[in-house]
Symmetry: C2
Amino acid sequence: MNFLDLLNAQIDKSNSLLCVGLDPDVNKLPEQFQNTPNQLFEFNKAIIDATHNLVCAFKPNSAYYEAHGPEGVVQLRDTISYIHEAYPGIPVILDAKRADIGNTNDQYATFVFDYLGSDAVTLHPYLGREALEPFFARKEKGLIILCRTSNPGAGEFQDLIVDGKTVYSHVASQVSQSWDTLGNCSLVVGATYPKELEEVRAIVGPDMPFLMPGVGAQGGDIKAAVEAGIGANKRGLVINSARGVIFASSGSDFAEAARKAATETRDEINKYR
Amino acid sequence: MNFLDLLNAQIDKSNSLLCVGLDPDVNKLPEQFQNTPNQLFEFNKAIIDATHNLVCAFKPNSAYYEAHGPEGVVQLRDTISYIHEAYPGIPVILDAKRADIGNTNDQYATFVFDYLGSDAVTLHPYLGREALEPFFARKEKGLIILCRTSNPGAGEFQDLIVDGKTVYSHVASQVSQSWDTLGNCSLVVGATYPKELEEVRAIVGPDMPFLMPGVGAQGGDIKAAVEAGIGANKRGLVINSARGVIFASSGSDFAEAARKAATETRDEINKYR
């Protein structure tokens, strides 16, 4: 099954557009995971068990694992395997923000899809479509291209004006009109910028899903973001919250608190779908 | 010592602008490294021993190691450690092409500098300067920003025109005029585009070094590239060749062939300095 079908099936099954970001910053882990073996994996497992039926996807960010060297990479793979084995049908998006020239991307695709077993990956657009061919060759995988990111300084290059349109609008047009021949492309558009989100939705039409970081800790408003970005059949958004869910409590009730935060976020999103 | 001083000292010591790219594609390793333990590290070690006094830097590309999972990551760290221990003074550039939002970049900086021990890293510009703060906080490290890449499709977004100037020119201006307050920034400009290289040199002035991929297997012309890009004091270019050096022979004479290819490339570069 390709990524878009997998995603839509899980959205319908969970009645949720919430994606939980598995970004286990060791400095914020509950005390019971401090200085324990496989702490990232064990923490993730508890979060996954607590939230699996509330999400349309899980999104580990590779950086939080790479920071621990090989032990972190193993725990990232184990986290993805655990999701696939314990809860089949939930897509895993690897937030890795990769992109190099073609023969190098071939190696990254091996890491992301063959070693880690991800269903989708985030990619930088800067080198253009040609360089990303090894990712496009993985026809069943989701390719999620950075368009308008959620960070405060996102506009420095993304908002430059080319022929009366922003650079991020050009990225949205190119991906939608010329890259997405297989229907497996998606865009990253931050919840922190609802006006830009609305504009990108108008450019690409109702069917392309957006990965939307920026709610929760980053402060994006759910009502504004959902109303601006919602796609066909009340789908089309994968709304990521990491810190707001996984670190809802730093005490021994962290899993229960994560489940509560995920439920509230899902329900808040559904109010505006 | 900061990256630029380290680099310039090594350029002077080796009388070389050649950087050898340590991209050990397993499908191309000489037969003696097929199916042997630590094959990436052992191959690299032989290449490093054969070429160390001919280079201004070594540049492993992270993708070729990540493709092997945790065992690859260990061999990447061991490769960098080996260079620093056996040949102190040679800077190691990690070609990782990272960039995410700020708190995530903090984790990538931990991987790249603390775990791996790199002296410099390549970064995507798309999220802007603000997001890269955790890299800028590593004041002694080199930050090498993608400007005009060497791949055939580089122009898709990089050549879009903003206020009469290309996007890559805007990246060059911003990095030079506003990002590089500590003198530790550099740009990636491909040898395959000498006209663009000349333009970027004119924008940033003579002192900023360029990491220049694209000679060797990618077909960039050394004479044109050196004449277009050379900086102050006949420095300012770090000219990378990976496949053209490390896979000069696939036989048991691979190290000798790599040394010969590196010598020829260094001398060819020096003819036009």
